[in-house]
Symmetry: C2
Amino acid sequence: MTTGRRPGDSGTRDAILAAAKEGFATQGYAATSLRGVARTAGVDPSLVTHFFGSKDGLFEAALALPVDPAALVETVLGGPTGRLGERIVRTFLLVWDSTPGQGPMLAMLRGAVSHEDSAAKLRDLLLRSILRPVAHAAGADDPDRRAALLASQLIGLAVTRYVLRLEPIASAAPDELAPVMGKTLQRYLTGPL
Amino acid sequence: MTTGRRPGDSGTRDAILAAAKEGFATQGYAATSLRGVARTAGVDPSLVTHFFGSKDGLFEAALALPVDPAALVETVLGGPTGRLGERIVRTFLLVWDSTPGQGPMLAMLRGAVSHEDSAAKLRDLLLRSILRPVAHAAGADDPDRRAALLASQLIGLAVTRYVLRLEPIASAAPDELAPVMGKTLQRYLTGPL
């Protein structure tokens, strides 16, 4: 205990955070209450406020993504420009598919659809931290417009595959999806618009 | 009053329905309560149950779309196959843009993201009533897969334009979007996959 933290603290905080992730991901922002999260975590509601301040603070913590946007951009850009679209789809699917239950990403997506703060966070993460840098690096004209077009197909992919579970996209292997949707992203990124 | 209905009934029912559409569209399914809807409509909660039975019945009534899917399919198919993709985007934007606040469609989309019944309804409407018939009529192989790909780009367009209000897609004129996304839909529909 060299950090001086009591062991119980981090366990309690983790339990609250896990309950919050579950709640936001399955029920969305509006329907998730501090009281409900506390009940699921088996703690007193005052502890939720103690650790996270407010519902927004809890939401913020629950949305912490398991990936570093800068590392994603680097991965995507590490290869020939002609296959950038396909690499974006593969990287996107890898991040989503490798996260059990797609927890934080689903929570962010569900939150964004019902909650303006969360929509702003998603816009910021997706466009400013990931897609605009990629569009700029690809060297095409009008990178903002291209980044928005990329976002429209990627968000559509996430909603159909993970939220609506629309077949055959929901069960398709990345190897099936990447070439087909990659071609769309490639055109949005480097083709004539 | 030849129908024998009391005038007050339809006014009350309309007020409840308007409050429900507003609630489901802005807050989503889970966070919208019969009690809250009754309060917004200025009626007693028992009247909501009287007219709509349950929250699901109310949701169902609120989701009634202002368009007939069969008529949409006919519009989209009435023209050269080579520009099918572009006509789909134009028709899609026309329906959304011409509905004030995108009420029922936004409610369905927001509902689908947080509520399995509503997700099933959206899958059913979009795929079975609209996109699969279009894909079949286009005469391409593997119409289910093609319809799902169409859905992924159209849902992505709706989320980025109307929910996330991501620029420049949010403010783009249909004439700007239709050629660019139409080409994607055209390939998903009739091109090699």
